[in-house]
Amino acid sequence: MSVVGQPSVKAQTPSGAEPRAGRVAQSLIKFAFMLKTVWAVLAALILGAFLVQLAGGRPVAAYSALFEGAFADYYGISSTLVRMSPLLLASLAVIIPLRAGLFNIGAEGQIYIGALLSTLVALYLPEVLPSWIHVIACIGAGALGGALWGLIPAALKAYRGTNEIITSLLLSYVAVYTVGAVLHAWLMEPGAPYPYSREIPDALVLPTFLSETEAHIGVLIAVAAALVIAVIFRQTTLGLSIQTVGHNPHAAVYAGLDVKRLTLSSFALGGAMAGLAGAFEVLGLKYRLFDHFSPGYGMQGIIVAFLAALSPLGSIVAAFFLAGLQVGAGAMQRTTGIDTTMVEALQGMIVLFVAIGLAFRYHPERWSRRVAAWQKPTQGE
């Protein structure tokens, strides 16, 4: 019989006595992992360079146009910010319910209904109120619209167990058609060349914070919303409760949480974010309700949400990135004349590569083993 000495729990990091070179190599590798998103974008751009070449463009010129157009000049940045606002809000509409374990792929519909309600309040609430109150009412109506539309799949889920992914998706189509039908039957400006409503009163147009651009304060509100959501999830019992429901509904019941109510409220809160995006498109950008006004913000919001690994703060960065990519791609097209469709393909590739990059994680022990293996032959010499 053999009794081995008693190991302690602490002394279990693999070999503390690594050679110096090994440690340097390891920290370099760690650093390289931190930059994985950068590598991903680079890889996509290199692959995309072939497409650019194929489209008859010069990659370097094209890419510098992309970068400048998105981030390096006043108007580019403002466009990026304007685009970022709906993407960010749409991503919050995905993130909040997903933390409760519910997948909302219907942000698009919530955006449309938010825009519709906001427009109705803008056009039909009597202009007796001070305009700033009226503006707030319009914004609130947008949030309310989105929340109500989001409540439908949530309620079906909570009370009937209906799959919320599909109901929210189908309801998106219904929402887009609803806006079309309301415009057609009622709201459309007489003689308009395209289905759109009357213009909202000037007093209700959201102020801009960068002159001569479309950069409306909705952008700032969106960022503020993301911060608030982040705080809710990090610091409040509501956030923790939603998260517990998402992790394990049985444990949530055991913890005394009202799972149905949290289902409803997380979806409604998410919908409200999407609704805000709709309201801002009307109040800050188009000043009217247009048929088919969203270029797919709902779906893009899903991408942002996942690129941000479902973190509201990360969403700010991811939305800024994706918005910059879109704006820059447009600028690249205008500067160099490269085909728009190629630019779309490039965007898809970049998103794909960034997603791949995010999947790679740094495992210290694995790399320390590998580094040690590399060093063996050199030490033998």
Binding site: V3, V4, Q6, T244, N248, Y254
Partner: protein, 504 residues
């Protein structure tokens, strides 16, 4: 060293998880045709080691030899090809499929299924083993002991000759253990090799030929069963002497803290589980619920805790009718603690950290939060204190609950529910899967609670345990209490009759 050839040998196995060494230079030789027990505290690395043999985990270092030949087992299929079969600690079954489908799954054969034929063969094999199994039942609907029989059937259907059984007896009721051991003996005499993981030392002494004891990822002893005894094994495992007899003072009984009257409730399938059950627990006493698993124990606990709706009857806690209160309110207002039977599904949020799990049921209350704002610093200190007191083996309170071993998960729940000064405490199978040190600790803590005046309802299928800690026993059968008696008058025979509904 080995006269008998080694069926499987592990040499210098190392396995790390995120820098943590779960197995640290482990070497074991399992002799052909033997029953080899592996013992160790919760989290010692037993399951990890078995998963390595079965090809589910890849070791970072070390060799595996099957019948003396070095092998690389990179997936379970290769393990199966080497004649290795495993029953996991948490069963791996497809709940939605039937017994037959689960048994057939993964086997080679004609592309078109012929389940009728398999079904027949399963029935034959089951008969041979003395199992009473309905092959057409979906897996989820089977009681857990039955599920285990299906798992064993699965291995034998695949003609495994090395059976790895990870804590098989922790899910069995006492009456099921005897035939189970008989089966193991028969399997051994038919030439099969068995690796048995368990926390029950008397089982080891009864069954095993050889014993390996693990501590903190290392092998601390490799020893013939005939050369040792329970006490020594316990000391090797835990690192200190474990005293199995608890000293108890007579109870100081107070007023009732739990009054259950004519409770009626149904289970998930809508079948009646409680049929007018009545029961009282007073302050300062431990009432044990004895019974064969599946006679309404789980439903009783859940109904009292507020997780299940009663269709009739009332539950009074500390003199107040509790029927309309949710679990949190019962805990907060009526000072009721509850240790659920299913720790992973109900008791814990596995994806959150240990600290949060320590306050899972109270994070919305002061001092852990105020006006909706959470005070994480308080939660953390609180968790650290509890973890220390309950000896939770972890890397820190920020670690995910999922990554802990089962025993340590159980300790989190116990700590949380007991440290809140409850007046009523419902504990359901509190020692399931715990090592001897931990069981000892839990029982002492429960007795201390009792002496402080808490009324405890102790539900367990382990008779010995009940006889050791309870003051009074109530026997449950078919959703009703069929007999109550002070523990001094309880004998296993008398209880046995009551538990099978043969005496009233």
């Amino acid at each position: 060293m080995q006269a008998v050839p080694s069926r499987i040998s592990l040499e210098g196995i190392v396995k790390t998880f995120g820098g943590f060494r779960a197995n640290d230079d482990v070497s074991i030789h399992v002799a052909e045709g033997s029953i080899h027990a592996i013992l160790g505290e919760n989290g010692a690395g037993k399951s990890t080691l078995m998963n390595i043999i079965y090809g589910l985990y890849q070791p970072d270092a070390g060799r595996i030899l099957s019948r003396g030949r070095e092998v690389k087992i990179s997936n379970p299929r290769q393990a199966m090809a080497l004649g290795i079969g495993m029953v996991h600690q948490h069963f791996k079954q497809v709940d939605t499929m039937t017994v037959t489908e689960n048994v057939v799954l993964g086997l080679p054969g004609r592309p078109v299924l012929n389940l009728a034929q398999d079904r027949k063969r399963i029935i034959d094999l089951a008969q041979e083993l003395g199992f009473d199994i309905d092959p057409d039942q979906p897996m989820w609907s089977l009681p857990i002991g039955m599920q285990q029989r299906v798992e064993i059937l699965k291995l034998l259907y695949r003609q495994a000759d090395l059976l790895i059984l990870d804590e098989p007896t922790s899910v069995l009721t006492p009456s099921e253990i005897k035939p189970f051991f008989n089966l193991l003996s028969r399997l051994r005499s038919s030439g099969r090799t068995i690796v048995l993981i368990t926390h029950k030392l008397d089982e080891v002494m009864e069954m095993a030929d050889r014993v390996t004891v693990m501590r903190l990822g290392r092998v601390v002893a490799n020893i013939e069963a005939s050369e040792t005894n329970s006490r020594e094994l316990a000391r090797l495992m835990v690192g200190r002497d474990v005293i199995f007899d608890v000293t108890r003072t007579p109870p100081r009984i107070g007023s009732p803290v739990l009054e259950v009257a004519d409770l009626v409730a149904t289970d998930e399938r809508g079948l009646s589980a409680l049929n007018g059950l009545s029961l009282t627990v007073k302050a300062g006493e431990i009432v044990g619920i004895a019974g064969v698993d599946g006679n309404g124990q789980r439903e009783l606990a859940e109904t009292i805790a507020g997780l299940r709706k009663a269709s009739a009857g009332t539950v009074k806690i500390c003199g107040q009718v509790a029927d309309r209160l949710n679990p949190a309110e019962r805990k907060r207002r009526l000072r009721m603690g509850f240790v659920p039977e299913d720790r992973q599904k109900v008791g814990l949020d596995l994806d959150s950290d240990i600290a949060f799990n320590m306050v899972l049921r109270s994070f919305r209350l002061p001092p852990f939060s105020r006006h909706g704002w959470v005070d994480f610093a308080k939660i953390k200190t609180h968790a650290k204190q509890l973890a220390e007191r309950y000896d939770v083996r972890m890397r820190g309170v920020g670690q995910r609950a999922r990554d802990l071993s089962g025993g340590n998960q159980q300790k989190i729940i116990l700590a949380r529910e007991m440290e809140d000064e409850p007046e009523l405490l419902i504990v359901s199978q509190p020692t399931k899967g715990l090592d001897v040190g931990a069981i000892d600790f839990v029982q002492r803590t429960l007795l201390a609670q009792r002496d402080r005046g808490t009324g405890i309802l102790y539900i367990s299928t382990e008779l010995e345990e009940l006889l050791m800690v309870a003051d009074r026993l109530a026997v449950i059968f078919n959703g009703r209490i069929v007999g109550e008696l002070p523990v001094s008058e309880a004998t296993p025979e008398r209880l046995g009759l009551l538990m099978t509904g043969k005496a009233a």
